[in-house]
């Protein structure tokens, strides 16, 4: 008997507590920056695509929901010819972001991806690519990778010596 009254009292007190429920979607939840939501492809400081098509995200993906095809521009810079994420399979584990050597693929605090048609959850590159550097501003993979691309010849990257002069025998 006493326990029933106690329970009703506690429930009554909750009427005066701060509400945990928010009125989504009118009211939006504030998510931390490291929330693992929708996957995006970011860009370099020079607004080139960051993704070099190395396939590491696809290999890291435990549900195999990423597929892509690497290709190359005439200056040797790699980019994905297509890049597809099947979000109906994605488990938002963030392994792809961890695996990405160029900070191209990032998970952002956005989860509002509901669709009535499952086919609409297949995102292509144009759906994934954003005009931003995301969480890692200023990073440019080709600056540290040794490879020559347009605008960065051999020896012009960070921590690179000028190309070896093969004809020199000087010590």
């Amino acid at each position: 008997m006493i326990s029933i009254i106690r329970t009703m009292w506690l429930t009554f007190l909750h009427m005066f507590h701060k509400r945990a429920t928010i009125q989504y979607p009118e009211e939006k939840i504030k998510l931390p920056a490291r929330w693992r939501g929708r996957i995006v492809l970011t860009r370099d400081p020079d607004m080139g695509e960051r993704c070099v098509g190395c396939y590491l995200c696809a290999a890291a993906c435990p549900v195999d929901c990423i597929s892509l095809q690497a290709t190359e521009d005439e200056h040797g810079r790699r980019y994905p010819e297509f890049f597809r994420i099947n979000f109906s399979r994605c488990i938002f584990c963030g392994y792809c972001e961890e695996a990405c050597p160029t900070y191209a693929i990032q998970l952002i605090p956005d989860f509002e991806m509901g669709e009535y048609n499952r086919q609409n959850l297949v995102y292509e590159k144009q759906d994934l690519l954003i005009n931003s550097e995301g969480k890692y501003p200023g990073y440019n993979y080709y600056n540290v990778a040794g490879l020559a691309v347009k605008g960065k010849d051999k020896g012009e990257g960070a921590n690179e010596l000028a190309p070896v002069d093969v004809h020199s025998l000087l010590p």
Binding site: V63, D64, K154
Partner: protein, 912 residues
Amino acid sequence: MAILYIDNKPYEIPTGKNLLETCLTLGFDVPYFCWHPAMGSVGACRQCAVKVYKDENDTKGRLIMSCMEPVANNQRISISDPDAKEFREQVVGWLMTNHPHDCAVCDEGGSCHLQDMTVMTGHNYRKFKYKKRTYTNQYLGPFLNHEMNRCIQCYRCVRFYKDYAGGKDLDVFASKNNVYFGRAEDGVLESEFSGNLAEVCPTGVFTDKTLKQHYTRKWDLTMAPSVCQHCSIGCNTIAGERYGSLRMIANRYHGEVNGYFLCDRGRFGYEFVNAKDRIRKPMMRHQEVDHTTIIHELSILLKQPGVIGIGSPRASLQSNFALKALVGEHNFYHGVSDNEHDLAELAVKILNEGPVRTPSTKEVETADAVFILGEDLTNTAPILALAVRQSVKQEPSAQAVQVNIPLWNDAAVRGIVQDRKGPLYIASIHATKLDELAAATYRATPDDIARLGFAVAHILDESSPVVENLTDDQYQLAEQIARALLAAKEPVIISGAGCESDAVMKAAANISWALQKRNEQTGLVYTMLECNSMGLAMMGGHRLQAAFNAVMNGHAHTVIVMENDLYRHGNKSDVDAFLAACKNIIVLDHSMHATSSKAHIIIPAGTFAESDGTLVNNEGRAQRFFQVYEANEVISESWRWLLNIGAAMGNMRINAWKNFEDITQAIANEEPLLRGIDTITPSPQFRLAGQRIPREPHRYSGRTSMNAKDNVSEPKPPEDADSPLSYTMEGYRGAPPSSMIPFFWSPGWNSVQSVNKYQETVGGPLRGGDPGLRLLEPDATKPVLYFHGIPEAFKPLEDHIWILPLHHIFGSEELSAKSPSVEKRIPSPYILIHAEDAANLALHENEPLTFYIRHHTYSLPVKITTAIPHGVAAVPYGIKAIPCSELPEWATLKDESQINVYTHARVNVKQT
């Protein structure tokens, strides 16, 4: 045998090897870079350090390079000793100081020996924080990409390219820590074996440029064991597919056939599979039709009498057999010219009925005297040429063995050998790349080459026919060759169909038979023109000319041409007339060509990548290739099309054959020369631990996404009714049987170097024996019946020229020539004549020479040389605008008024 103690555990091991090989054979993971099982040790990279102890009381030990240390009985070593481990980690750390952080954009990544070795040695984090050295790259041609930044100076590339493959244009430049591996200047790598650099290089300095154009990581490929279709040697390959297109060909180690290497034709010729003009839909009189309709229509059409079938030397045994079964034995014709037909049958007869054995490529490597008659091996059977290159090292390196230098000690052996070479004699029409190794060369027409061969045979054995009217020079050369062959322990005679002369092949047979009486280790090798020439010859069938006659005489009106461009095998006017006379031309093929463009009905056949089949190589070894991927719903193997048509026609015999296994068993039962071909791979029901063998590595990615564009629901993976392989990543993860290894991988060994784990001994046969079945074994007890009929010496004819075909590695073979990278290396049409003939005709280099063969006019730009005989001209075989199917033939140089000039046959030089 000896006892070796590794970390205090005894192992029984064979002697004569080095410690590194022995440890790898025993299954230990010892890191290495510069050592290569085919090229031996030089001790350059210092990566394979282990500790050696004096005896069991020695606790300190000393570090040695395991690749430079021969094994000894009761030797005690330690691989896991902390000093050795630290040393190895430091060495890899040093090698990595200048290695760039570009694995993400490096094609080697995921199959990289350097990645594997850094992980194996524990150098997981990069400590070097200073500036990294950079190099500019070179353009190396259509096959290879160059990225010198990644080099770790192991020297494997130049050791392979120069020392092993005899290349001249790749070298090491500069000094100290600036050494540069490349060419003196940008340009196409000349060697026919340059593609192997992509596999020999432990990292990504040299990578496959064709793969780069549709780049896929090794872990993402669907791979299957395949057999190269581009020459008669039958090298074993791994073919990899992704997203429905073939992405790369890699070497599949075979201890007897190709070892560790492939030629560039085999490695880069695969792109015809992805060609835009592939036949992908069934067509009936220029209308696209579906699978059911075409089967129905054909079953009605083919029920009428008067149907003949023309097989192909580039189609599998199964396809040829299915065609033979469908049209009946009497209506089955080999789709090769009569000359090719005779040569292939002659080769089978000599190897099957003669007393001499045909050695494998590996055995040619260890031959100590070689005589080549009429073949330009570098262009007709490149891997055999690579083997001959090794064979000339045999005799001089015997001296190294005398002074106790083991043969794997490459630098020391080369120091002793210097420039000396074993006996190699080459008789050829034109200069060959192997000439530089030869003790003597002889340039002559096929008839004169045959005369030299018969002369050598007569010197070896008096009872063989004698050659009349030899010049003194010829006789002396013959004597010199005979002496060298007699002195050898394992002499090998090489000849083949390349110069289209039966006399040359018979002369080679006579030599080997004469030699066999003195030395039972004699070998005789014939190279053939196409990948299944031998298999087709062993199957039996009529001549192509008979097929032409059957239609021309009204006995037949419908022809099924399977995987064959008749214009490559019959002369143009004959084929034109034949095709015009046929009421129904049905072509089963995968690529468009002159014959298929005249077909009324076209059926899309699968290429080797979309097919299962068996080929017989020049050695008589039957080898199976497996389907790599399902192309689409209509493209399938020729034999499957034919079985479906046969079943629809109500042919009870064909109806009983449902899959690859059934038809292969039928061949084994019905073709006496092909008995046993059903045993070369396990049956489709074979399982390991109840599982299939996966075609995909366990880290295959993108399964739930690759087809999602079309439909988000994943389709069921296709099931393979023809083999125990699966089209998925699920299945048995251990080593599969040697005949069906889809890819080489072992934990910690992602690169091709993991082949060590699949071999019984390093560099030896695959575990479970090398795959394939040799069908031709000699009967040494049979009496020798020498060939007679020695040809007359060649005499030039006035106003005429004897035209011979010259083979080119790039261009002479039909399928590889369609590959865009190979296409860039195809020579433009030419006619090669002797300088004196050119002077007589008042012709200069590149001026057109007009000549007439059987009323056809040809005009080709002249190339002038002194390396071919007088009165002879040579044209590149199989290249567009060249009448290769008519050769060898006399051409007239004078335009006689009665000659009817066909304008459509004229070759305009300016256009080409």
